[in-house]
Amino acid sequence: MRMPVAAFLRDVFINPHCVEDYHLQQWDLLIRQARSANVLVRLAEMFKESALFDAIPDKPRMHLESAWIHAQRFKLSLIWEIKCIEKALLPIDEPIIFLKGAAYHLADNHAGKGRLFSDIDILVPEKAIPEVERALIKGGWMTNTFDPYDQRYYREWMHEIPPMRHLKRQTTLDVHHNILPKTCKFCPDSKKLLANIVQTGENNTWVLAPEDRILHSATHLFHEGELEQGFRDLSDLDLLLKEFATHPDFWSTLLLRADELKQRIPLYYALRYTHAILDTPVPQSVLDQSEKYLTGRVRRAFMDFLFLRALMPNHASCNDRWTGFARWLIYIRSHALKMPIRLLIPHLLRKSFRRFSSKDTH
């Protein structure tokens, strides 16, 4: 596929060895792109794995090293935070399912490497939400918002309760009961997600099934409105796909599962853009099959126009004249996907009115 814009970062993610003859100016731009895309640590990990790290010129190596040191500290805090959550939720009989970054870490997935993030997400059965919330409050977490409208917005329409913050550590925890808003027409049956979860460790700690982890990552990325971290999230998908593809029947299970969970369109995007941008080895038959999920040649071409720009590193050097427009359209689109227009318009009006009268903290 023809890419509208080029980026050193993309070349290096496809083949780390291409830095071997980089001169300092190329290194300069590579480090800048990686920093903007929040993948400096992942880049460092890639160079370490390919035994390239020690040969990197001093200056760029320092930046990778510095970010890598910071990531070691992050990892310790993450382990501690997960422990605290596990402890607080010990009395709960239902499974506690960690999502995204925390899940990649717990499952020791490649996508967990060098991934820095600020919030931890968990998923629990919807019926367990009240007791989970009570247990968390007992453990020192507190809701972020007391505003009755916000509370109603989350509890009636969303797939999560309002974010909770720990009073002492100031860490944020998102408690979900599904992976998409209830108001979204592609919202899957959460019972199906729960049916396939995988336990990690001895505690009541679980992660989604491998295919579901991919589908969740895909649905999250392709419903997202702000793609500042889009390249990093695409790289997560690339790493997950490569890791799980070694299992026999992986691709057919993935396609089947996308069907069951109503995530065929996000899966189409995930496969198309990981393949196009990061050269992820997706079998041609799977690409062909998934292409049927998004009908209309013009529609597909238009989405290419948007995503081939917006998923590139969020750095001035990776933009063309259409990038800003593409990011803006994706932002608008994300709202329209969240809920039907009859709910969305009043919600946005209300939000903007409150922002105008500066009561809103979001």
Binding site: Q25, W27, R32, P57, K59, A67, L76, H315
Partner: protein
């Protein structure tokens, strides 16, 4: 080639276009773009002796100082600091642009240099001995640092002491020394060699002015120094000059609090700081008379 070899016109033009001015500041390579006259003047006043980098050099920090929007250039003008497109702070009033450059650069170094243990401290050197002065704002560390530098000591840094995690040496980043409020007059009176750039009032830190670093310190900025004394200064009006030994344990606890990245470095931070405390004599220091202070420290290094 030094920055002072550029004409004001060329300097202004380079700063204003996207290529910027590429400066070597200690071990760091900075590229600055700005079309604000205050910033150009700040560079002319204080950065004349700094080396310019070549176009093909690697740049550590690409920074920009400009108005956040066209509206904010015309109406109640503001300045915004950007690190390669990322804006870490809220904008400030336009006339604080030069100070914002210094603070922004502090932020860049403090947040992206974990190859060093970074102590919030001034550090100067004489006869191969580096003295580290950690201190909270108001402790008089910058004043002390400025006076020592004006008395012939080598400036390594007035704000951030970079201790290499590899060899425990102090790596210099000599930059203009930030003086606040009364210190500006004190230093003016202390030495007629003192050149202080634009003085800006009503900043978050009060009135701020920057002292030009000596050329010799800039020329020797590739040379690390061995830390030998760790001194916690306290300016106290009308006090006697008093240097008191501080136990190693207490020194460690106090210094750890003054570090920017002690907790980021984890056990390595503990080791590096521990080694530093082991190899330094540690003191608290109370003073009101700058000349007495300088005399005392100079004797210690004779």
């Amino acid at each position: 080639m030094k920055l002072s070899s550029l004409s004001t016109h060329t300097l202004k033009q380079s700063l204003g276009n996207h290529l910027g001015i590429k400066l070597k500041i200690g071990g760091f390579h900075i590229c600055l773009t700005s079309s604000i006259d205050n910033v150009t003047q700040h560079l002319i006043n204080l950065y004349g002796d700094f080396e310019l980098l070549h176009d093909d050099d690697f740049i550590d920090f690409h920074v920009e100082l400009n108005a956040p929007s066209l509206a904010r250039r015309l109406f109640r003008p503001q300045v915004s600091f950007s690190f390669d497109g990322h804006v870490p702070f809220k904008p400030l009033p336009y006339d604080q642009a030069a100070a914002m450059f210094e603070w922004g650069l502090n932020w860049c170094i403090a947040n992206h240099s974990n190859q060093y243990l970074i102590i919030h401290a001034a550090v100067v050197e004489r006869n191969g001995q580096a003295f580290i002065f950690p201190g909270t704002p108001g402790s008089g560390k910058s004043t002390l640092c400025a006076a020592l530098v004006l008395s012939g000591w080598r400036l390594l840094s007035d704000e951030m002491t970079l201790i290499s995690t590899v060899d425990g040496m102090v790596h210099p980043v000599p930059r203009p020394i930030s003086l606040k409020n009364q210190s500006i007059d004190v230093i003016h009176h202390f030495s007629d060699q003192a050149f202080i750039g634009q003085v800006v009032k009503d900043t978050a830190k009060g009135t701020v002015g920057h002292l030009r670093p000596p050329n010799a310190s800039i020329e020797q900025s590739a040379m690390p120094a061995k830390p030998t004394k760790l001194i916690f200064p306290k300016y106290k009006e009308a006090s006697e000059t008093q240097l008191l030994e501080l136990s190693k344990g207490k020194s460690m606890m106090r210094a750890a609090e003054d570090c920017f990245n002690y907790n980021v470095l984890g056990s390595q931070g503990f080791d590096v700081l521990g080694n530093l405390i082991d190899q330094c004599d540690c003191y608290t220091f109370e003073y009101s008379q700058l000349t007495e202070a300088i005399q005392l420290f100079t004797q210690l290094t004779d």
